[in-house]
């Protein structure tokens, strides 16, 4: 009897272990599958036009990828005041992207035309 219980117990543990493992795997799969979708949802755009960044204040959630596009005839840069990110000189229609993982306020400017200032607020 004791032995039967022991076997049943082991069986239960095995089954439980299997379910746990499968469930865990499912969760992992779900997370893996949904990641590109999330990245797609968590994207924001800033347009550089007429020597200004629009919007001047961009509010986003942590994990959002922000893409700047230069629509001016003159090159501009996107440079964080605190050196968190820095683009190369963007010629007309060139883009620069940065993903903001940590909450905070990120002021930035164009290092060629420093009167151009703006910020990204990450929640």
């Amino acid at each position: 009897m004791k032995r039967t219980v022991r076997i049943l117990g082991m069986g239960f543990l095995l089954v439980a272990g299997f379910v746990y493992a499968t469930g865990w795997r499912k969760q992992t799969n779900a997370a893996t599958l949904s990641q590109p979708q999330m990245a797609h949802e968590m994207a924001a755009e800033v347009k550089i036009d007429n020597f200004s960044f629009g919007p001047a204040t961009l509010e986003i959630k942590a994990g959002t990828k922000v893409t700047w596009t230069n629509a001016d005839d003159i090159p501009h840069t996107v440079v964080s005041n605190d050196k968190v990110f820095k683009s190369k000189a963007l010629d007309t229609d060139e883009k620069f992207s940065f993903t903001f993982d940590k909450p905070g306020t990120y002021p930035y400017f164009c290092s060629l035309h420093p009167k151009m200032t703006a910020k990204v607020v990450v929640q």
Binding site: I74, A89, F109, P114, K115
Partner: protein, 320 residues
């Protein structure tokens, strides 16, 4: 030494107070001849050049200034910056008497690319001048913190490319105000360069004419568009003892002059494309003008120094 009080303005009936500003602005389609005597700048429209005594435009030292060639720019405001730079060189080569040298006050290139620098170098070879001197614009230090610029033009310079030299008794100082710019700020010279400048000018006699050249204007043309230099007042304070100081700038793609005390400020036109008058557009971006008018808003500046009279004659010519 000429004190500020001794300066006598030839008003040309312009009604401008002698302690005040003299502002002569030449926007699209015009050029200006400026004759500076004893620190005072008189300006004449290029259209009235034939009324001027030719002796006033000739001197012992003459040089030309070009600016903002933006090699690599190809947008509608000027799809042929090579052609207009070549036209500028032709203009220089047609000047009466060979200018001693050429000053390029920056934005040689549009994006600091080696091929853009190569192009300009190739075109400037045709200029009939013995030498050329440069200071960088922000476009020349845009992609590599000025590495390419310094490799080509940095020889014998300090810091980010600042330098000085003497020609025919005139002391020339090339300043760099386009690096390490701070968010929200204007052009910047920085502590190290200011110290160098103070030291450079210290030993000079007050009778020595000083010509300072830099890319961004060293006076507040229009700070809202960044057209000024944060610490230019400090730099100019080192020049107070001199009777004649001329400041030559580029950056704003239009000619403009101002006299303040012993200092005459002058900005040169671009050889590439015009920019709007301060505050006259949403932004300082390239100004699109009809193709047939383009060359009338681009230009070359020639400067004559007349020994004894402490005079600089500054002539802006358009490429039309």
């Amino acid at each position: 030494m000429k004190k500020e009080d001794e300066i006598k303005f030839d008003h040309n009936n312009d009604g401008i107070d002698r302690r005040g500003f003299l502002k002569c602005m030449a926007w699209a389609g015009t050029g200006t001849l400026c004759v500076m005597k004893g620190g005072v700048l008189n300006s004449f429209s290029l259209s009235k050049l034939n009324e001027l005594d030719p002796a006033a435009a000739m001197g012992e030292l003459s040089f030309v200034q070009i600016s903002d060639s933006h090699m690599g720019f190809n947008k509608p405001a000027n799809p042929d910056v090579v052609g207009t730079l070549k036209a500028a060189i032709e203009k220089i080569n047609a000047l009466p008497g060979n200018p001693e040298f050429l000053l390029h006050t920056g934005d040689i290139t549009h994006l600091s690319k080696p091929e853009e620098f190569d192009n300009v170098q190739q075109i400037l070879k045709d200029a009939k001048v013995k030498e050329a001197f440069y200071v960088p614009g922000e476009h020349d230090v845009a992609i590599d913190e000025g590495k390419e610029y310094m490799e080509r033009y940095g020889k014998g310079t300090k810091g980010a490319g600042w330098h000085s030299f003497d020609k025919n008794g005139v002391h020339f100082v090339g300043l760099v105000n386009v690096v390490n710019l701070k968010a929200g700020g204007l052009g910047t010279l920085g502590h190290e360069q200011l110290e160098w400048l103070e030291d450079d000018l210290k030993g000079k006699k007050s009778s020595t004419p000083i010509v300072v050249f830099a890319h961004i204007p060293l006076w507040s043309v229009y700070p809202q568009w960044g057209w000024g230099t944060e610490d230019s007042a400090q730099a100019l304070s080192y020049m107070k003892k001199f009777g004649s100081v001329t400041v030559l700038n580029g950056h704003i793609h239009q000619t403009m002059q101002k006299v303040e005390g012993n200092v005459t400020f002058h900005t040169a036109a671009s050889t590439a494309f015009p920019q709007p008058a301060p505050g006259k557009a949403d932004s300082p971006g390239p100004m699109k003008v009809p193709a047939e008018q383009l060359r009338s808003v681009l230009g070359v500046t020639s400067v004559n120094f007349v020994r004894g009279q402490k005079a600089l004659a500054i002539v802006d010519s358009n490429l039309g």
